[in-house]
Symmetry: C2
Amino acid sequence: MIRSTATATTLMGLASLPGAGTAQVSQDAGAAGPQPGPRTRTIGIVLFQDFETLDVFGPVQMWGRLADHALGFVTADGQPVRSSQGSVIVPDWSFASAPQFDVLMVPGGQGTRPLVEDAALLGFVRQQDGSTSWTTSVCTGAAILARAGVLDGRNATSNKRAFDWVKRQSDKVTWHGRARWVVDGKYVTSSGVSAGTDMALALVERLYDRATADEAAHRAEYRWNDDPQNDPFAVADS
Amino acid sequence: MIRSTATATTLMGLASLPGAGTAQVSQDAGAAGPQPGPRTRTIGIVLFQDFETLDVFGPVQMWGRLADHALGFVTADGQPVRSSQGSVIVPDWSFASAPQFDVLMVPGGQGTRPLVEDAALLGFVRQQDGSTSWTTSVCTGAAILARAGVLDGRNATSNKRAFDWVKRQSDKVTWHGRARWVVDGKYVTSSGVSAGTDMALALVERLYDRATADEAAHRAEYRWNDDPQNDPFAVADS
């Protein structure tokens, strides 16, 4: 990942951080595990105030060391944001400076509640979605995708404890109450929080192969729930 | 959590972040879920360059909204660090400015390899451990605890893919090759990466009760592996 803006890192005094301001591949130099070559594709994760912590970092664990995908974070203004569980993350881009992503991911959390009305975010999602290979969400991030209109006519799922609220965001989406995650074309939406980790591995399988997904899970000593129909937190569809 | 230093937040220009520079409880105002009162106890998580992402953020998901525990991050110099999966986190404290923690957690990752020789970190761990209620680790974080000497004479576990390296760090620890996590007195060590999430819930049960732990898991749509003997990634003890 070549940073297309140095604004955040410069302001934050991160120039001395290994890997900062350079292609992300450099941070892996000398570390164990597969040594990636130049990463030609980009996974972009949207962050906002009060995002849900594990929505983001389960997928980051599984996506953060792929051979051909660099991973970065984008916030509306390129400034840090804080998760609902109190973690402050420094993003790589603002909406204005972000490159076209190959994979877009929108997490959920309390922060999504006002954002379903946020024209800048919805516009950014629509713009990115125009050229992504995969557009994904975890938890109530599906509400953002739905309000952006990119799930119109699609099958999708979301957090089961916020399912009624999510469904109200769009009646043009077929919402599934029993699904750990749903794939419809290039759209992959997951259920709540930890379901994002299972969805992330399913995407690794599609981007690479089963062995790569299994290895990512094993490295994390993670027992992948690899059946999208196995949803311990299912609710009725309507 | 009252921040005992404003250095990092001021340098980082985070003064405008909701919740920054104030008691952490304020960030939860208006959010769903239990509304905590003033949090009188502190969970401190040590971060360093190339920490493993999910080692930290699985527990953060489960510990970040407890009624009576504020959660914060500490780095040696109070400056941000980057995880092995490429996430830059802004800490709350340096070693010098950190308060006494009630719960100390040391994660693992590639970054632990040089740190088992790091006198400043080992000294900080020993100093904190002198007055913690619980001293915990995820993954190869146990190697740091072992080298600090605080696990001498104790039972412990660690990442099973780095188990031989961890065992070499101390022969005064009884290392368990089959354990999702191990509790010995106030010391709680977990196996690799995602095992930290299960350990974190076990600690919630001890700090509060089973219902609180179950609720934290359910909120995250997480199927808690609540049996510390159920270790799908077990290896021989020696």
